[in-house]
């Protein structure tokens, strides 16, 4: 499908806005469509104006290239502050909408959330990987609740995004993106938290987060596992949602066994 008409939103109040011009972004969009067989579905679900939270699955570093460049509007996301120290990324990443956040402080997650809220409150699109980090197993993992909490806080809908093909384009630890491969990006219908439970009830956040993952699984075709990414496969580098926090664990009773329930073939 041809690249849709693109709206380059100016947001002077947001850091990173001044990096690269709309012409640069347009050029990148054309380049992506030329180098890869990019199939985009569900663009009609993206609102022409107003805030929304894009929630894609996360398999490869290049997800942060394909999803933003598939959108008809500019989208913002949180990225590591360290990217601004590297000449290779300091101009390119903000062009994709990355807002650098210094995550060395103790309240990094809160800073990231506050920054995201600023984006949404300004009526813009914001992208966050609900799994918190890349899945090395290929499965879709349990969501962190940040996206759902953001949706609640800013009254912004979540748009589930499922993509495939990005892992082949850029496998883990590869710097170069292999051209010529097919990549599919599918956008689902906007999900509003109030349709999934009483927003005033704190139980609704986890429920909503799980139901978003179900929709992502439908779009990406991945098998869902109810563990956090990085917990049952190779520990992964954190990405846009904040560094993992080392928390003291509660001891587990020695006799406790949690045999996994019967295996299943996949989503029905």
């Amino acid at each position: 499908m041809a690249a849709p008409a693109f709206t380059f939103e100016e947001a002077p109040e947001l850091p990173g806005n001044e990096r690269l011009s709309k012409y640069g972004v347009s050029g990148l969009r054309r380049l992506v469509h030329r180098l890869w067989d990019l199939d985009i579905e569900g663009l009609h679900h993206i609102p022409a104006t107003g805030p929304a939270i894009l929630c894609p699955n996360h398999l490869s570093f290049c997800d942060s290239v394909f999803v933003p460049l598939s959108l008809p509007r500019r989208v913002w996301a949180i990225g590591k502050g360290e990217y601004m120290d590297d000449w290779k990324t300091k101009h390119l990443f903000p062009a994709f909408g990355m807002i650098p956040v210094d995550r060395s402080g103790g309240d990094a997650a809160q800073v990231a959330l506050d920054t995201a809220a600023k984006v949404l409150d300004g009526g813009h699109l914001f992208m966050i990987y609900p799994e918190g980090t890349r899945s090395r197993s290929g499965n879709l993992h349990k969501a962190r609740t940040g996206a759902a909490r953001l949706s609640l806080r800013c009254s912004a809908p979540i748009i589930p995004v499922g993509h495939s093909g990005t892992l082949a384009v850029q496998p883990p630890d590869q710097f170069v993106m292999k051209p010529g491969l097919p990549v599919s990006v599918r956008f689902g219908a906007p999900m509003h938290i109030e349709d999934h439970g009483d927003p005033a009830d704190p139980r609704t956040v986890r429920k909503f987060a799980d139901e978003v993952m179900f929709e992502i699984a439908q779009l990406s075709g991945q098998k869902y596992v109810n563990t956090y990414a990085g917990s049952d496969d190779t520990p992964d580098a954190p990405t846009a949602t904040g560094a993992p926090v080392t928390k003291p664990s509660i001891s587990v009773p020695p006799g406790r066994s949690r045999a996994p329930k019967a295996a299943f073939a996949g989503l029905s």
Binding site: R149, R206, D210, K223, N226, Y228, S249, F264, A265, G266
Partner: protein
């Protein structure tokens, strides 16, 4: 310390218990307990022996329990409403040195020869031995052994020490603003063989020197009469009792004297909460606790009532929500409720394996319940871990599906359980009591639930199995 001293600390002329037409003072209870201590000593019962108390909500339950505690023994409350076969099974499990019999348990005497255990009639027993003093016990010495089959199946016997029960009693009386006080008049309708009725209501009321109006068997009109007549200030009930109270057309002012309304043992339906508030002016406070935690873990006392929440952790309780591996959940996320504190039990009697599944060496008790905190630390319960259904990897909590199905006008009762599925691992199966058809319910569920949460099978039953506490008994439908 010894919990048996709790009834001796008050003015002996104060009325402790009202049982029908008769009132019993703290002094009379103390005397009866002392006499029964002598009887127990006469029969060779001493420290750490196990003593069954087969009595209902009656003064003899208190006297017999205090007597057994007083000689240092461990008390096992036994329901006199249990059939003989059930009692025999329980006696075989606990092998008591003696069983003290109250009025409600009197029927057992005709079967005495078949039980192989020493039965003592608590009403008629006499002794010429001078009453022995109350034995000093350590906080860790076991006081009560509670038979708790819960709703999960095999009976377990939870061992609670003097220190455990003492801590929980303090947490809801002297250590919390608006807790139970000597001026309170408590309705004793909840069964004393259940930890809620025993510790949160009966023993805590006795500890503070309050008056308890006993109701031997809960009855709607009878309980309302007691509330009116005795100007009850503390009204505690399980959700089925609150439902009946909420539906009644009780005369205006019936509940005016009630200053504390407590619900526990199972989730209080929101319509019951609303009806009690709107029709009777009573704001019911939900609390949360388990037998293994000496009753109370959370309370709304000293805080505010937030509909749907069971309140905040009581003083002395550390409460954490964790993932399966023991790591704390992210703020605002749900997880298994794990607790530590002075009220946590000492394990299951003769069952180290089961104990090892829930209790760690450093004192953390894994409750098996899933909950979530709001930003102020108020706890909201989600469901039982064991009841979780996993469909294509996704968690489905039966309570959520049941609550949706119950909103259908053709559904009077609903229980959801998991069934095996080759495609999805498990599948959601609904058992329905009501007039709705499977097609109607399927359409309704699809409208209100995400696809993986929708039942794939509907079975229609005449009656949904519910425990007296209001908990659904899912195992009968699995």
């Amino acid at each position: 310390m010894n919990l048996a001293t709790s009834i001796e600390q008050h003015d002996p002329s104060r009325v402790a218990l009202v049982d029908g037409e008769s009132a019993h003072t703290y002094g009379e209870l103390t005397e009866r307990a002392a006499l029964l201590r002598a009887v127990l000593i006469d029969n060779g019962v001493g420290p750490d022996d196990r003593v069954g108390v087969l009595a209902g909500n009656e003064p003899l339950f208190v006297a017999a329990s205090m007597a057994a505690l007083g000689v240092g023994a461990r008390v096992i409350p036994m329901k006199p409403t249990n059939p003989l076969s059930e009692l025999k099974r329980k006696l075989a499990a606990i092998e008591p040195a003696a069983v003290l019999i109250g009025e409600d348990g009197g029927w057992i005497h005709t079967h005495g020869g078949t039980l192989g255990v020493l039965l003592i009639d608590a009403a008629r027993a006499a002794s010429t031995t001078p009453p022995p003093p109350i034995v000093e016990r350590d906080a860790d010495d076991i006081a009560f052994m509670m038979l708790t089959s819960g709703v999960s199946g095999e009976p377990k016997v939870a061992m609670l020490s003097h220190g455990n029960l003492d801590a929980a009693q303090r947490a809801i009386s002297t250590e919390v603003e608006g807790g139970l006080s000597p001026d309170d008049i408590t309705l004793g309708s909840l069964p004393v063989a259940h930890i809620f009725g025993l510790n949160a209501v009966l023993l805590t009321s006795l500890r503070v020197g309050a008056k308890i109006i006993l109701e031997r068997r809960f009855d709607l009109l009878g309980s309302l009469e007691l509330v009116r007549e005795h100007q009850i200030t503390v009204l505690a009930g399980a959700p089925p009792m609150w439902r009946l109270w909420s539906m009644t057309d009780a005369a205006e002012g019936t509940f005016d004297s009630v200053r504390v309304a407590l619900s526990g043992a199972a989730a209080l339906p929101s319509d019951v909460f609303n009806d009690m508030r709107d029709r009777h002016g009573v704001v019911v406070e939900e609390g949360y606790g388990l037998t293994e935690t000496s009753s109370v873990l959370t309370t709304c006392r000293g805080g505010e009532v937030r509909p749907g929440s069971v309140g905040r952790a009581v003083p002395g309780i550390e409460m954490v929500l964790v993932e399966e591996d023991g790591s704390p959940v992210d703020p605002g996320d749900s997880g298994e409720i794990v607790v530590r504190g002075p009220g946590i039990f000492h394990g299951y009697f003769n069952d180290p394996d089961t104990t090892g599944q829930v209790l760690t060496e450093d004192g953390w008790f894994w409750t098996g319940d899933v909950g979530v905190f709001d930003e102020d630390g108020y706890l909201y319960l989600v469901d039982r871990v064991k009841d979780l259904i996993i469909v294509s990897g996704f968690n489905v909590y039966p309570a959520e599906v049941e609550n949706i199905l119950l909103e259908h006008e053709g559904v009077a009762g609903a229980v959801v359980v998991g069934g095996e599925s080759l495609e999805t691992g498990e599948t959601v199966i609904a058992h329905i009591q009501g007039t709705a058809t499977a097609d109607e319910l399927d359409a309704f569920a699809r409208e209100h639930l995400t696809r993986y949460k929708c039942p794939t099978e509907y079975h229609f039953v005449d009656e949904i199995p519910v425990a007296p506490t209001g908990k659904l008994i899912r195992r009968e439908l699995r």
